[in-house]
């Protein structure tokens, strides 16, 4: 799958509190959550973001709380994928579980600026900066994660498992 979008770039340690503040956590409608995405560090984000855009950040993206509302809000805001130098572990799991692609690539983050246009090939882990005419690689997912993704994510993987007749 190929994604093409404009870059919104952030720094180190973007925590889940600024991705979606605690005051909105009783909301479970993704579209409503999406309206408040990033509002405490970038109030204009929801006005600027267009469907298919790409979020790029430095290290430890998604640190802090376990709220799944964070990747849900990012996805509902229109962002198609997040690229960072590293992710906090709970956020990484949550993003994959709700179908928000997340890629780890130091070189892509260093070689990308706010407003650039990126083309991301998820299957190959290839990231092309169309504005700067550069090409980067993302770290491949571990085998188990690839299995999980190709099964359609954790929800689908578990659905099939629960439907399977039990053999003793």
């Amino acid at each position: 799958m190929k994604l093409v979008g404009k870059v919104h770039k952030y720094g180190d340690h973007v925590d889940t509190d600024v991705i979606i503040p605690g005051r909105y956590l009783e909301i479970s409608d993704p579209q409503e959550l999406g309206k408040h995405c990033m509002e405490d560090i970038d109030p204009d984000f929801v006005k600027k973001v267009r469907p298919g855009d790409i979020m790029v950040a430095e290290k430890n993206f998604g640190s802090g709380s376990s709220r799944e509302h964070a990747p849900v809000a990012i996805k509902a805001s229109g962002v198609a994928c997040v690229i960072a130098k590293s992710f906090a572990r709970i956020f990484f799991r949550n993003a994959l579980n709700i179908g928000l692609p997340v890629l780890v690539s130091e070189e892509a983050v260093d070689g990308t600026e706010e407003g650039d246009t990126l083309e991301v090939n998820l299957a190959q882990g290839e990231i092309v900066n169309l504005s700067k005419k550069n090409c980067f690689r993302a770290e491949p997912y571990p085998g188990f994660i690839v299995e999980l993704i190709s099964a359609g994510g954790l929800v689908e993987y578990t659905r099939r498992r629960l439907l399977r007749p039990q053999n003793g």
Binding site: D15, D17, G22, L25, S66, R67, V155, T158, R161, L162
Partner: protein
């Protein structure tokens, strides 16, 4: 093969003789925690995966602590859904007035025990590392799957050993040790790793202090923060356990990715400045920081030992006229103990507000929020941008001694400024 503490617990729950860091496992879980703030999405995911029953009703605990008392009708509706779900599936549900803060309630009541594998829909689930449980926070979908199947997937983390040497000073607690540690290694210093706490300094710490340390393992990005079971921990667990458990010890020759040695005999009280828990300074280098609010409580420092420290400092003194001091006992049992020991009287006479056992202002979703630009010294665990309230508000993290002393002076202060 030699294994660390976390590797041993993971291996036993995966039915394997040994495991190595980086390996993916399917593990059986002993306890699953669900709290109200993340329950909504958990319930939705549970239905999405087509589950019709939970794997074992005796292994799931549902607690409401974030949104109590209900702040809006929407909050009340959320907790009503949670109650209905619990009743439908026969899951134990602990009502307001009978639970308090989940991460204090579960160890207090013996739900989480040494050698357990615990997952919770809250990032501070790692608190139970103080009783030797491999306990970690996850998102709602992961927890829904664990509730339906009794299993989850894990990547075996590498382990990092933290050795604390010496004897901590009078006003130094577990919070100071863990703030110092996060300050040294950074908020991603243990990302995806297991922290193992050891060293002779820890024997001087109470269980409450050890819970505070494990609680903030996530603030260094860690998956778990494990303590070993010594006599003190053993005594704590024995009076509470209602089922058998197994104490694991790391192998002497186990491999650790990193090793840190910290001498803590001369450690000063520590304060984390906005906006990261790693932005830590010793109290002597804090300078003049006036505050409008002091908050003592949370899953990090809402334990009885924390209230005793605060009471010792506040006894016969008054909270500064420009400061509001909020005290949240962690559970009804702690509230009752504080009452019987005369602490509630001390707090009220000093001019503090006693809040119902709940998460208080920590998550910024609820009560005692800060106005724009206000500052709070808090015994909580996060000081991110706008975490506790309005734009430009600031949270400084400390242990209960500094928070209580600061409430009296009106600025961030060492307990030595008001006490011998």
């Amino acid at each position: 093969m030699a294994m660390t503490l976390s590797e041993k617990i993971l291996a036993s729950h995966a039915g394997k003789k040994s495991v190595t860091p980086g390996e993916f496992l399917q593990v059986k879980v002993d306890v699953i925690l669900v709290q109200d703030l993340t329950a909504g999405l958990t319930i939705e995911s549970f239905y999405q995966i087509g589950a019709t029953k939970v794997f074992d009703t005796s292994k799931i605990v549902m607690v409401i602590d974030h949104g109590v008392p209900a702040k809006t009708v929407q909050t009340a509706e959320g907790t009503r859904r949670m109650r209905c779900f619990a009743r439908t599936f026969g899951i134990p549900y602990y009502e307001v007035g009978r639970a308090g803060i989940c991460h204090i309630f579960l160890p207090e009541q013996g739900f989480v025990l040494p050698g357990d594998l615990v997952v919770g829909a809250d990032s501070h689930t790692c608190t139970y590392g103080a009783v030797g449980a491999f306990a970690t926070g996850m998102g709602s979908t992961d927890i829904a799957v664990a509730m339906a199947t009794g299993e989850t997937w894990m990547r075996v983390p590498s382990s990092t050993k933290f050795v604390y040497r010496g004897r901590p000073g009078k006003w130094i607690g577990g919070k100071d040790l863990i703030l110092y540690t996060v300050g040294q290694i950074g908020v991603d210093g243990a990302n995806y790793a297991a922290m193992e706490f050891t060293g002779e300094a820890l024997q001087y710490l109470s269980m409450d202090d050890r819970f505070a340390m494990s609680n903030m393992a996530i603030e260094a990005g860690a998956k778990v923060g494990l303590h070993r079971i010594d006599e003190k921990a053993s005594a704590y667990v024995k009076g509470r356990a209602k089922r058998p458990y197994r104490v694991y010890e790391p192998d002497e020759d186990a491999e650790y990715e990193k090793l840190y040695n910290f001498e803590v005999s001369d450690l000063e009280p520590q304060v984390a400045f906005p906006f990261l828990p790693s932005n830590v300074r010793p109290i002597s280098q804090v300078g003049e920081i006036t505050i409008q609010q002091a908050a003592i409580g949370s899953c990090c420092n809402g334990w009885i030992g924390d209230l005793r420290i605060a009471a010792r400092i506040l006894k016969g003194r008054k909270v500064h006229p420009d400061v509001r001091l909020i005290i949240n006992p962690g559970t009804p049992q702690i509230y009752l103990d504080a009452l019987r020991e005369g602490m509630i009287e001390t707090f009220v006479e000093a001019g503090a507000v006693i809040s119902t056992p709940n998460c208080g202002p920590c998550s910024g979703a609820h009560v005692w929020l800060l106005a724009p630009g206000e500052r709070c010294i808090a015994t909580t665990n996060r000081n991110f941008v706008n975490r506790m309230g309005g734009p430009g508000s600031e949270v400084y993290l400390s242990g209960p001694a500094v928070a209580a002393a600061s409430a009296i002076t009106g600025k961030i202060s060492s307990p030595l400024e008001v006490q011998e």
